[in-house]
């Protein structure tokens, strides 16, 4: 279960049809639940653990965990993007709950909350 979406934090990016996390997944694995408007993971086994969805979520609603066969509960890794978008602070929590932090330079580009899909007539791709 590499990526967990916390339904209490996810707001579906205010009705966006094509929110950033869905767009940034290189494997086409995230989709919108048409009933709740929140994001669902299609198949955890297809996840590459690459984290663009985690980093881009404005609500920090997507959490990254290793699948249990690779790492013990409840170690976690949470990226926090600085408001200046020039730094990212990674919060690393080990199995005992001890926290370590790493702040690294980067250049995060702004991302729109929605984006049009190319095509003649876009059908609803949510489930």
């Amino acid at each position: 279960m590499p990526v967990i979406i916390h339904a209490d934090k996810c707001n579906g990016c205010h009705g966006s049809n094509n929110p950033p996390c869905i767009r940034m997944c290189p494997g086409d694995l995230l989709m919108k639940d048409s009933k709740t408007g929140k994001i669902l993971m299609r198949d955890p086994a297809e996840c590459w653990d690459c984290l663009p969805c985690v980093k881009v979520c404005p609500q920090e609603a997507i959490e990254f965990r290793l699948s249990y066969q690779l790492g013990f509960h409840t170690a976690r890794l949470i990226p926090h993007i600085h408001d200046t978008r020039d730094f990212i602070t990674w919060e690393l929590i080990d199995t005992k709950g001890d926290i370590d932090k790493f702040t690294i330079r980067t250049k995060i580009l702004p991302v729109e909350l929605d984006e049009k899909v190319e095509g003649v007539a876009a059908v609803d791709f949510s489930i």
């Binding site: 940034m24 290189p26 590459w48 653990d49 663009p52 699948s67 990226p79 690393l92």
Partner: protein, 572 residues
């Protein structure tokens, strides 16, 4: 089904490392030409660079030249590379790196403003956002981007590639793109063999699991000449996470040791460079240790300080964050215990090894109107990120010139209809039949055949004639099974094409492995029936061409040409 017809001067299939740079280059050199990128995901985070990069691994640090780079790459590839291709890409490293730095990529510099090397050909970067940075440059250059359009085949008229067909994984629209020239830049192929991890970690692979050989397969189906598929890439990676080891080995200087603590590379492979031996030997060496009962094998990091361990973690966060979480989740401190390593599933790539389209120095393929760049292009290993950029630049220049001189072709409607039927068949099969094969089932079948008969990890990647002939026979049945594939939705339709494409790649690969009757790259393709390197007979490229009408794969060789003088088995 909605159909979109798009006309573009240049079509780039695959908006990754090579594709984005190619788009910018076309627009800068030929402002009158229109450019369209067809991309199966979203170019902001698609392909190999989705997670980021922490180094540029092909760069000429002070004192190095294109010639010294060729000597090293030739040594690393056991004496056989396309020197013309390696030379031409290395001449553009500086141009590309400077360009991307200008777009905003943070590159680590010392007090005097010089790049900080990490090994002979590497410089350190903070590349977590490398992909969005180059994607933005491509968009700013005026490129039309078709995100979520999965390319299924070229449009070929009178032997010339005049565009391509794809479908949108978002809305099921079909896209017919007419182009004067086409650049293929879809990357290599993962998932041809059984992955290192199973179940919910099956995609915990080093190579991007969404790179499934589409560009190779389209070329194979259209009769393009392919080279060196038998030089599979089997990398030495960190156990379980399959994270790159260069960050550790080059970052802090960690030798390989076996379970007895012996530095086996330094002792047994001293004559070819010890821990600096050619890359295939750095996988072959530890495999022999494990095979002979001296595993596990580690990178010895016990000498590093706790600050160095922190720096190591920071470097991984820029590229492969799960490595850092893995250490925390398994109570591993790399400064106190060595880092266990393993070898990957075999990948087919043109950027680390040299599997791909046979191209000329302008990156023109053997198909008229088609150019190749990046992992999908063959003959030039050791490309990594900057070499893919360079090839994108070279291909852009040539494709642009071709587009200036040639008009759009007329595309017969029957050609489009035929591909439309093929592309959407799995969806229709589901609606009409319900019963059939899921893409996943065929993927597992393919991986089982390849793993067991075509040199998978379980057999230490070793092959022989008899096993390969079984693989050939089993694979031969799969194309007849394509008609049984069913897809419930568009995501599954994409998966269906991903496995169909990999079957074409696998068939070509098996023919290549059968044909080269020597062991040039131990570890990558060890033949137990031809255990030695044989320069007299096999100092040449093994190429293939599948006849589009009969489906028969014809094998041939192309001569190796030495351009840079010197001993081909020495790194300098």
């Amino acid at each position: 089904m909605e159909q979109n017809l798009i006309e573009t001067d240049i079509l780039i299939i695959g908006g990754g490392t090579a594709g984005c740079l190619a788009a910018v280059e076309v627009r800068e050199r030929f402002p009158n030409l229109s450019v369209t990128i067809m991309e199966k995901a979203h170019i902001d985070r698609s392909g190999c660079l989705a997670g980021g990069m922490n180094a540029i691994n092909a760069y000429l640090n002070p004192g190095e030249t294109p010639e010294s780079f060729v000597k090293y790459v030739r040594f690393d590839s056991c004496g056989l590379v396309r020197e013309d291709l390696v030379l031409s890409m290395s001449e553009l490293f500086e141009y590309c790196v400077k360009k991307v730095e200008k777009w905003g990529l943070p590159i680590l510099c010392d007090d005097k403003g010089n790049y900080i090397p990490r090994g002979r050909w590497n410089i350190k970067i903070n590349g977590e956002s490398l992909k969005p940075i180059i994607a933005k440059a491509a968009k700013n250059a005026g490129t039309k981007v078709l995100n979520w359009v999965v390319a299924t085949n070229y449009l070929v008229v009178d032997g010339r590639v005049v565009g391509a067909v794809g479908f949108s994984v978002r809305n099921g629209n079909m896209f017919v793109v007419k182009a004067k020239a086409t650049i293929i830049a879809t990357g290599g192929a993962a998932g041809v063999y059984k992955p290192n991890n199973a179940h919910d970690a099956q995609h915990k692979t080093w190579y991007c699991p969404y790179n499934t050989g589409a560009g190779y397969a389209m070329g194979i189906r259209a009769g393009a000449e392919m080279t060196s598929f038998e030089m599979r890439y089997i990398g030495l990676r960190v156990k379980d996470t399959i994270a790159p080891t260069g960050t550790i080995a080059l970052g802090v200087g960690a030798p390989q040791i076996n379970s007895k603590g012996e530095k086996f590379m330094a002792t047994k492979y001293a004559h070819i460079g010890g821990d600096g031996a050619p890359t295939p030997y750095r996988s072959h060496g530890p495999l022999q240790e494990i095979k002979e009962g001296r595993g596990p094998v580690y990178l010895d990091t016990r000498h590093i300080t706790s600050q160095q361990a922190r720096d190591l973690k920071s470097a991984f966060l820029d590229m492969y964050p799960s490595m850092v979480l893995y250490w925390a989740a398994n109570e591993i401190d790399p400064s106190k215990e060595p880092v266990e390593v393993q070898t990957t599933e075999p990948y087919i790539v043109g950027g680390h090894t040299q599997s791909g389209y046979w191209v000329d120095v302008n990156r023109k393929t053997t198909l008229e109107g088609l150019y190749a760049a990046g992992d999908v292009a063959g003959g030039a290993p050791y490309k990594f990120v900057s070499g893919c950029w360079a090839e994108g630049v070279i291909a852009a220049k040539q494709a642009g010139e071709y587009a200036q001189k040639n008009a759009f072709a007329e595309i017969p409607a029957s050609l489009v209809h035929k591909e439309q039927d093929r592309a959407f068949a799995p969806l229709l099969s589901f609606t009409s039949k319900k019963d059939g094969i899921k893409a996943y089932d065929m993927e597992v079948r393919l991986q089982k055949i390849m793993e067991e008969y075509a040199g998978g990890a379980a057999t230490y990647y070793e092959v022989n004639e008899e096993r390969l002939l079984v693989a050939r026979r089993r694979l031969a049945t799969l194309p007849d099974q394509f008609k049984h594939i069913i897809a419930e939705d568009l995501h599954e339709l994409m998966k269906a094409h991903e496995v169909i494409d990999r079957v074409y790649v696998a068939q070509t690969l098996v023919e290549h492995m059968l044909y080269r009757k020597e062991t040039r790259w131990p570890g990558y393709c060890t033949r137990t029936d031809y255990t030695e390197r044989d320069d007299e007979k096999w100092l040449n490229f093994v190429n293939s061409r599948r006849d589009p009408d009969t489906g028969i794969i014809e094998m041939l060789t192309r001569p190796y040409v030495q351009i840079v003088p010197g001993d081909r088995y020495k790194p300098r």
